[in-house]
């Protein structure tokens, strides 16, 4: 899923303090799971804005709403649309995709982002999320038996490890970040496939990544 983190309150408040009718719009998918922009976070942030505005003497009328997914038009039902149109600003707690999708669907509404979108990650335990995929556009997991050197090696090395691997940890953050190449080695050893590591891995074709410009996917068979 997409992992996001709420922006500092000061930054959020600065961006919305001039609005009179503000809608705090949450998203019920990724950002709910990573506890950055779901219904609960919408409630907390809306109340923070109410309290800050009260102290400032400002008069922001704050409403709250959360939809299942901000990145799909079908979830912007009548109720959500009405609330968006009534507001002069929308503070979206969806990821960057959600923010842009609201702008596209409601061109007259000012939309502000409430979260910093971080990465595609997994939940290690409640409250800890970590990067697992870089969305590079050409998956190489088969070659490395399910451990991604692009997303999990600090240098994205295709032929690792580098000299910064020590006791299984990466020199970039020895306390928290495991060396992806140690993980790859351990995995190959477990599967009796160490010889696979003798293969030279050619440079990655980055044209499938962002380097090829903004990407899109289309499926003719499901198009209406």
């Amino acid at each position: 899923m997409i992992i996001a983190e709420q922006k500092p309150f000061k930054e959020i408040y600065e961006s919305v303090k001039d609005s009179e009718k503000l809608l705090v719009l949450g998203c019920g998918t990724c950002v709910t799971v990573c506890m950055a922009g779901g219904e609960k976070e919408v409630g907390v942030l809306a109340n923070q804005i109410r309290l800050a505005a009260g102290k400032d003497g400002g008069k922001i009328e704050v409403t709250e709403h959360t939809i299942t997914r901000q990145c799909d038009e079908e979830f912007f039902d009548e109720g959500a649309s009405e609330k968006i149109k009534e507001a002069d600003s929308v503070l979206s707690l969806g990821c960057g995709v959600g923010v842009q999708h609201i702008v596209q669907l409601y061109p007259d509404v000012v939309v502000r982002p409430g979260v910093n979108t971080q990465f595609y990650g997994a939940t290690l335990q409640q409250g800890i999320w970590t990067e697992r995929c870089a969305g590079c556009g050409e998956c190489v997991l088969e070659r490395f038996e399910g451990i991604c050197p692009i997303a999990r090696c600090s240098k994205s090395l295709m032929n690792g490890p580098c000299g910064g691997s020590s006791n299984g940890m990466c020199e970039v953050d020895p306390e928290n970040t495991e060396c992806a190449w140690q993980l790859i080695y351990d995995r190959m050893k477990r599967l009796n496939k160490l010889d696979k590591l003798m293969d030279y891995q050619p440079p990655k074709d980055w044209s499938h990544d962002r380097d090829g410009g903004p990407r899109s996917v289309s499926r003719e068979d499901v198009l209406f």
Partner: protein, 148 residues
């Protein structure tokens, strides 16, 4: 609510767990222990029921102080509800500080069911703390700061 001196009396919400702090509050009454009428108790099955927005909402609705009172550490009826509440109270303290409310206006206490006098004492102490903070905020130089 105003005091005899004409100052506004603080409104304090106390979220108390059924098994310990609420029982202690009940006992305080039975024992004729005095504690300020500023305290409005909301009984919860466990302080583990407390969520961050519940605390913020109390402030939005006009509370001057919020206390959460649960079981003593290690004796939660639901094993670790009070530990969870403590974490959430600490998080909520950060959240109210971000909007310019003194985090001292929110506090977590651990009070056993048999500790009626302790509940009364904590209620008195917390009410005094809130009263003092409100007075400080109303002092002219702080008002200018607040306006800035």
């Amino acid at each position: 609510m105003e005091s005899e001196a004409g100052e506004r009396e603080p409104v304090i919400i106390a979220f108390c767990c059924h098994y310990c702090a609420f029982t202690a509050a009940d006992l305080a009454g039975t024992m004729r222990q005095q504690y300020p009428t500023n305290i409005r108790i909301v009984r919860l099955p466990c302080t583990g029921k407390v969520y961050v927005n519940m605390l913020l909402e109390a402030f939005v609705d006009g509370a001057d102080g919020v206390m959460v009172a649960g079981c003593e550490e290690g004796s939660c009826h639901f094993l670790e509800g009070n530990y969870r509440a403590k974490k959430r109270v600490n998080y909520a303290k950060q959240k109210i500080e971000e909007v310019g409310i003194n985090p001292e206006k929110l506090e977590m206490y651990h009070i056993g069911a048999s500790e009626g006098p302790l509940f009364a004492r904590k209620a008195r102490e917390f009410t005094e703390r809130i009263r003092k903070l409100m007075q400080e905020e109303n002092e002219p130089e702080n008002q200018i700061q607040n306006e800035k």
